[in-house]
Every structure is written in C-alpha cells, then in structure tokens.
Symmetry: C2
Subunit: 577 residues, 2 copies
C-alpha cells in the first residue's frame, strides 16, 4: 500500500486523495506538517480564515513495532503565536492513520459561518456529515455519545467548547487506548479546527492492516529491540517517569530554585511537597488508581496514570507536571484533588492546560481571584466552559488576558505562555523559550535534561555559558524526533545511551529501505527549524520576538536572585547554523 | 526665555528641568515626540512597563498668532500597535505649554502598583501629589471638580476610567477653551498615562507670557495673515468644515461608495442622510446649539460644534465624521441623538471614539448585539465604563475583541482599527492604512483629499495608479505639519493655494530666526517617517504588518465591487524614498 495524502476542503466539502509528491515522501510528523504549512499557507493569512490549513501527520515510525512511536503531529499557522505551529500527542490516531496509509490529512477552506461537520476517515476516503447534535458538548461526552471509548481500531480527534468558539487556547483532543484524552495542546490548533467547522474526526481503521509494512523486517526487529532496551535501562525513561509521571519534576525543579511560583515571583513553592509526583503516587496507590499508564500502544515508559478521587472514582489521566505546576506553584494552589479536577475540566472543554493554567495565574495577578484560591480556579474554568465574557478572555490565553487587564507582568513569548521552568534560573530553557519557532515551549529544546537532570552531561543552569549551543542542539534533535513519531522522552536515553540513536536510524532505514546516517537526522532537524523560521519571518516575526518579557530582565528571582542576562546578540547567535 | 524639557520620573517621583539638547532644538510636535521615543525608549519594551515614556510636545508654531497652530502632540510606544505612536489634538494645552517655554514634558518610570498621582505643571516645575479622591471619575467630572472649565490659562490633560485601567483604547483628554474635551485619541496613550499612575496634569500658565517670543515679529505677522487668508478662502477650510463640521463627509463618502457599512460589507449606508453633516447642522440650528466652534484659540475653520438635545441641553462637541461613521454606518445606527450621547460617554470614559466604534461593530459581528441596536450600543459603553469583563474586552479595541470572539473579519492594521473610508474603493487611503507607522490612521496621509475632495488634483480612488505616490507625499507632508502644531486641515489649502506653504515656511523662519526652505520641510517629514519606521522595525514590525486584513482582498465591496488588489511589492514600494 502506498501512502496517500487525504485533502478535505471545508469550503466546498470536497475530498481529494492524492499521491505524495516526491519532496514530501521522506517526511513525517513535524517535518511533514511544517513543510506543508510553509508550502501551502500564505504566511500573512488570518489563522482563522480560509487560507490557513490544518494538517495531521503520523510520524515516520508510527504504526511500526518501535517503542513509543505513536505520536501524531498537527500543524497550521497558529492563531495564538501568529507563526507556524506543530504540536504532537500520543493517543491512538497516529498509529491508526499510519496503518491506513494516510501520510497526512489536510483540512483547508472554511464552511459557511456557524456550520459544523463531522468527518469519518477510512482507508477509502472521508465522509463529511453536518453535525449539530453534538455541538456544545465537551470531549468526554463526545467519546461517550459516539461510543468509541473501547474501540481499539477507532481513533477520535475532537474539539470541545473552546475549539468551537475558536478560542486561542483551544486544543485538539486525541482519544487514548482507554477512551481517555491526550492533547495536541499548544498554540490554539483547536481554534483552527473550529474555524474549519470540524467538531470531530473519526479515524476508522477496522479494515486497515494491523501494522505498517516494513522493508527489512528482520533488521527492524533487531533495532527496535535495542531501542526499547535503551529506554527501559535509562533511569528517567525506564524508572522515574513510570513511578511518578512527569510530575516527578516538582520536587526536583523546586530544589534547584527553578519552579516558577506566584506568577514567576520566586523559584520555590513552599507547599511543593503537597503537589509532588511522590505525593501523587502515594495518593493514587492508596486510593486504588493506576500509577502507570501508557498513552499509546507500545509505550514502555508509562508516564501517564489514572488519578482517582477519595472514593476511587476516575478523575483524570495524562496529569502532567506542567499542568500541576501551572495551577499549583504558579497559582499557589497546593491541593492535588482540585488540580486533578481542573485538569479533567480543561480536557473536557478542550483547552491547553499550560496556557490556561498560566492564564489563571495572570488573572490572579489582575486581582480577579486571589492567588491560592482553588475553588475560584474551578469557577473560572466554568466561565471558560460557558463562554461568558470573562471565560472568553481567559480562553484567549495569557497574552490577551494581560492586555485586557492592562498588565505588564505577563509570562509569554510570541504570545504563548511560558511553561514550568524559570528561565532566569534555568537559562538553557530560557534560550529555548526565546528562539523556538513555536513560541515559549519547553518541549522544543528541553535543556532541563542537561541543566537539571544531567542527561547528556551537565551545564550549570545559572550560568550563561553553553546554553545557546545546548538549546540549539536540542532544538535540532527535537525537530528530528518530532518527525519520527517517537515520544520526546526517548531523548533522555539518546543523550546518555550511545546505542539509542543508531537504533533509531536503523529503524528508519529498515522501515523505508533507505540508508540514512545520524548526520542525515541532524540535517533533517536543521532543515525543519529553518523552514519554520522562514515561515515565521514571512509572517512578521523577527528577532524582536525572540525575547523574554522585560520583567525577567528587571526582577531577580529567589532563591538565587537570578536574572535574565543574555544580550540580544547572544540570543540571536542561536540561529547561526 | 529659553525652552526647557520637563522630565518627570514617576518611579521615584523626581522632576528635572533640562536644557534642550542641540539635536532637538529645531524640532516640535510629532518630530520631537517621535525623536525622543526613538532615542530613549527601548523598542522591545513593554508599553505599560517602566521603560516606556510618554511625551507631550507643542508644535513649533504653537503659542504664536499663527491661525490653527494649537495642536499638542503626544508620543510613546503604543500598547495598541506595539509600535511608535504620535497623536495630536486641539484644546488649550499646546499653546499654554509653548507660552510657558515647555518644549516637551516627558513622563517616565512607573510608580508602585495601584498608586495614582496628579501633576501640576508651572513654568517653575512640576508638583506631584498623590491622588485618590478623583480616581474612578470620568473626564467631565474631573473638569468640574477641579474647577478649571473657565480658566483660560489653565490646561488639563486627563484620563478617564479606561486610562486608569490601562485599556488599549484609552485616550488622553485635552480641555478645550470652553471646558469641553478634545482627545489625543489613537493608539492607547491613555493606557500609558494610566500605567504611569498619572490621573491628570494641570497646566498652569497664569504667570506665563501671553504669546511666545518671535524673532522677526513683522515678518511673522505678514506671513500669518497670508496663511489665514489662504485658509479662509479655501472652500473646504473656510466654508464646508465650518458649516457642517467634518461630518460633511457622510454624504460625500457615501456618494462615492466608500462609506464602510455593516462592518465593511458595503460602501453605502441606506440611511446615510439621517446621520449626515447637513442633517446635523439642521438639527443643531433648530435646537439652538452652535454649528461652528473652535477647539483652540486662533482657529479660523471652526469645524467643531455644540450639539444639543431636543430640549437644547448640551450633549457633545468635537462630534466628528469618523465617530459618526463608526457608530452610524459601520454599526448601522441612524440616530444622531444616540450617537451624540455615545460620543459624550466615550469622551467621559476616555476611549478613542474610532477604536471603540469599530470595536462595537466587531461586537455586532460576534453577535453580542445586533447591527442597528442603538440602545444596545449605549449599554455596551456602560460596560466599558464599569470595567465589567465584557467592557474590558471592548475597551481593548477591535483587534483584541476579534481574537476573544474568534473572528477573522476584523478591520485593523497593526492592531489599530481602520477608520471611515473603505480602502477597496478609496485606494489611496488603503495605502496609508497599510504603510503608516501609526497603524491604520486616515490622518497619517489623507488621500481622501485628492481621491474624493479633489484637492491638489484628482486621482481616481478606484484605480491603483498613483496611489502609492499620493500616500507617500501626503504622509511626508503630514509628518511635517504634525510637527508645526498646525491643524492637519490646513493641508487642503496647502494643496490648492500656492501661497499657503511659503507662508508656513516664512512663519517658521520668522519665529526662530532661521532660513528654512520648502524642501527643508519635506526633508523634515521624511526624516520623521524614517525615524518612526526604524523604531517600529526594531520593535518587531515588518513589511508583513504593512498589510490589510485578508477579507479586503477576498470580498468585493458594493457598489463598485471593488477589491484590494495591491501586491505586496507594490505596497512596499511606499518606503522607497
């Protein structure tokens, strides 16, 4: 079966199934979505208008037996950053699409105002039907009403109320193997899906083969085994992430003074232990939830969990460090049960939990509610769900909320909320926030690995030396990894275990019958970044946007009294490659 | 008396009175504010943070006997456009400051959060006192409570509730000779004043000479007489503006199909006669108001008016075409009494009436109220006054409102609302909207003069030919005029009467004992534009921001079915000088 591009025009409700043009054949995931956006979307177009396109693409290794290869990329011009955007997520859709031979699914055009549709994608094509019954429903109700929770061969991409309203913080939900949600989170891609009038996309892979074809099956098996072993043997990938989830980071990041607290006023939260991964595991175990859970088939890390309430009832999963930090330390709320409830509400509404958590902290800065007010936070999320004027403001993200309330202490870069590591005391991640083509995004070049977790060596997080190079190398590697369909967390193993990268290269070669080298993978990463950067420049983003908000320069952050002390020229050095 | 720069630091509440540095000595008005912003304000700073500065400067001819020379410029980095901003306004402050020898008043720094102050400026210095009693008051109440309405030698610059809240549409009010208001309207400078914790600035010129000194008094008198005659003899300056105010334009612009109606869906408003200048004059005369009124001493055009209600009670003045268009045709409300009431409310709250009117139309596009709902409009303004969440959204301007409600038909350039002339059917003004350093601003290069009013020749508004050159020439001339303190409306006479420009040059030379030529004035205009453009580029504004929203390209506007058909390269040609 030759892979195809499925192209759906929501303007005239037409569908085309196209051969993959030669220049796109070697691309997958982020490399593919970013290349299509750069090629087909006018950089100055309105992100919610008919010229923007929303592209879904499984990674190059998705649908194979490779461990942790089930990431789906989504790309578009972001209504939040006004630049290019790629998000990727676990869940089942990537593997199903890969098995169905769908190299990419492109949504283009916009329907008549207020019209919504459902798409059903099979190997044969796409069925478009008008949708009205499920409008106004959250993502969980969708899964329930569509009766797809248990259907292993049926994927679901959907938007909640926030996406229907084209809110800038809206994400796209991806059903996981247990009928729960993962998210294509950042940059408001849910608003793009909403602008195209698509409430949900059913991916029906019942008739598809169980696995994608691989050119050299034996070679692939060997490489895949080596790769999986590298993951399992690594202390972060094989142990810490499974035991405590990503929330293992709360205590660690607090310890080094990099846990942004009370809207970035200090780097330590005095109640950090109450929201830590250790505490969370303890509670989950005591209540009979699940400490380990995988977001897609073939995951050996199991960093997700099933968080239950005191009565043992399911509350949320995919309850991540960044979300917990955002509502916890950033908003000063030290109650995991409230945070878990809020996480579930955000998943249901369909908003990026990082953007929303940071926004709530900005709302606290504005005095709408007090720092530490957990019930107040839940009420604000209810406003977002209902789409009240205040809910609309918050749903528009931290940058807009800051403008509406006349604030200058607003932690965003390129209008996207800064995540869970203070750039003053973890300087490598600050370089990533500044320079990432995605706006502030820790995943774009996760310097925390080397600055704090000491993977791939150690670069002192409080010193400037080496941070630009660190961020550059990680951003290049990440752009490549995001193209493979592999979970970014494999990077810990790649940084420390010399068998991991060759195994990935071997898998790619065995999958496609090609002969890439590690250098080719690096070149791919560079090329992706440059493609994205060129789009952003044509869209009007310049070096002036590669900057942190000035309060990071003007205010010292305890406990180290660190400031952001990179010159413009030092930051701009990032792009010298 | 040698002019001085008064510099007030709101961070430490200190005041300095400085000599004017040599490079600034030949500058006034816009040339001075833009040069100081470009020199002293870091382009990437937060507009509401401590690094921004707010500068007030009378024009070079302010305080002289020159007709219509009482314009005050204000400059800063705009929180609305994120670029440089200069606004200018009538009222009494410019002439008073000039008489007091104040070349510029600079506000810098920001006080502790939530602190507000009043400034009293005399020739001797600036007195800073904490202000709490008048917080939350509108501009009219301020004038009343400060008892300055009738004080000819006492000027007032103030912000209403919107400025206190640092709303992006907030303006700065300038008391006029009758204790009414004029506005430093566009780009949110009231938010900058609010961020600096300054509720109002009293300009006390009781001890100042009645007129500024002029080096060659005889030469000045002759030139001033020639200049005044050129104004009085011109059909627009000397007749139409006085008879009908700027609102003379409603019928004219409707006739040529350039009156944006129902959020730019068509170029003609079927009820245009109900809101026309002719209708307004008739009503004012019948009710015993004043058809003619000057916004500052020495105005020979008298384009303002005193609009009264059915009982003859004062409602508003400075009731301009753009405001009437915005709430009228744009929002489809054909009731001058409602529009006048709304105009008064906007003056009181202290919001730019263009930004707010366009925003209300965007709110109608979002379905918050229906097009044509006059009482609904007044209710929305009440929300802005009260600072409810919805009021906060609207107070943030059209761009933010569009984002919050997920719209793509949002008429802004550089996030500033597009005013009262459809760029598709009046193409010269479209070039001005695109390229102005100020964001969409008709006053920056008022091509309507030549495209519609046939001043300075005629260039067909529906054709592309000649529009870039027209806009360029007008923008250069405007930048120079905005530096003199002369009202922009003198440009009509300058375009048609060959005695006008030499008279202005003679007045400048006589005032300062210099020997400028007309070419020097042009060079000044060019220099101002280039200074502003360089600031904007350093702030992150690029050619990609010199574009109209895509709906102007995609949607034809009746009655001519005109579209915006300039290529990027054609627009960018503007900057070739």
């Amino acid at each position: 079966m030759t892979d195809k591009i499925f192209r759906v025009n929501m303007g005239d409700l037409s569908v085309k199934i196209e051969d993959v043009p030669t220049p796109l054949q070697g691309l997958g995931g982020r490399a593919l979505t970013s290349t299509i956006v750069a090629t087909e979307v006018p950089p100055t177009c309105h992100p919610l208008g008919k010229h923007n396109k929303l592209i879904f693409a499984p990674g190059l290794l998705s649908g194979t037996r490779a461990a942790n290869s089930g990431r789906l990329s989504a790309g578009a011009k972001s209504p939040l950053t006004e630049g290019i955007k790629e998000c990727n997520s676990g869940g089942t859709a990537a593997q199903l699409m890969a098995r169905m031979g769908i190299k990419a699914l492109i949504l283009e055009g916009i329907p008549a105002e207020g019209q919504f549709y459902a798409l059903k994608v099979t190997s044969e094509g796409v069925e478009i039907t008008a949708e009205s019954d499920l409008l106004g429903e959250g993502n969980f109700a969708l899964i329930e009403k569509l009766k797809v929770a248990d259907k292993k061969d049926c994927g679901l991409l959907s938007i909640g109320q926030a996406g229907e309203r084209c809110q800038l913080s809206a994400n796209i939900s991806v059903k996981d193997p247990d009928g729960k949600l993962r998210s294509l989170g950042r940059g408001g891609l849910g608003a793009v899906m909403g602008s195209k009038g698509v409430k949900y996309i059913l991916i029906d892979a019942v008739d598809a083969p169980k696995r994608v074809s691989v050119v050299d099956e034996d070679k692939f098996k060997v490489a895949a085994k080596t790769f999986a072993k590298a993951l399992i043997d690594h202390p972060v990938c094989g142990s810490a992430l499974g035991a405590y989830g990503t929330n293992v980071l709360v205590n660690i990041v607090n310890e080094v003074g990099g846990l942004p607290t009370k809207n970035f006023r200090t780097g330590q939260f005095d109640q950090h232990e109450m929201i830590s991964g250790e505490k969370m595991s303890e509670m989950i175990e005591a209540r009979g939830g699940k400490v380990k859970h995988g977001c897609h088939a073939g995951c050996v890390m199991q960093c997700s969990q099933v968080y239950v309430d005191k009565e043992g009832n399911y509350v949320t999963s995919g309850f991540e460090y960044e979300t917990i930090w955002g509502m916890g330390a950033h908003c000063c709320i030290a109650d995991l049960d409230i945070l878990a409830q809020a996480d579930s509400v955000m998943d249901d509404i369909g908003v990026d939990s990082i953007e929303m958590a940071v926004t709530i902290g900005v709302a606290m800065e504005a005095g709408i509610i007090e720092f530490g007010d957990g019930p107040g936070l839940l009420k604000l999320l209810q406003e977002v769900k209902e789409g009240t004027p205040l809910g609309r403001i918050l749903g528009s993200g931290a940058g807009v909320t800051g403008k509406v309330y006349g604030l200058s202490r607003v932690p965003v870069v390129k209008n996207q909320a800064i995540p869970a590591y203070d750039p003053r005391s973890v300087k490598g991640i600050g370089i990533t926030y500044c320079t990432s083509t995605m706006g502030a995004d820790h995943t774009a070049g996760y310097s925390v690995a080397t600055n704090i977790l000491k993977c791939g060596g150690f670069i002192d997080p409080l010193q400037k030396e080496g941070q630009v190079e660190l961020s550059r190398n990680l951003q290049i590697a990440t752009a490549a990894i995001d193209s493979t369909g592999l979970c970014l967390f494999i990077a810990f193993a790649v940084l420390d275990d010399e068998t991991a990268l060759p195994a990935i290269v071997d898998m790619l070669n065995a999958r496609f019958g090609i002969s890439l080298t590690a250098d080719d993978v690096t070149a791919l990463g560079m090329s992706v970044l440059k493609t994205e950067r060129a789009f952003n420049q044509a869209a009007g983003l310049t070096n002036a946007h590669d900057r942190l908000p000035e309060f990071f320069v003007d205010e010292k952050v305890p406990p180290h009294n660190a400031i952001w002390d990179f010159s413009d020229a030092e930051i701009d050095e990032f792009w010298n490659f």
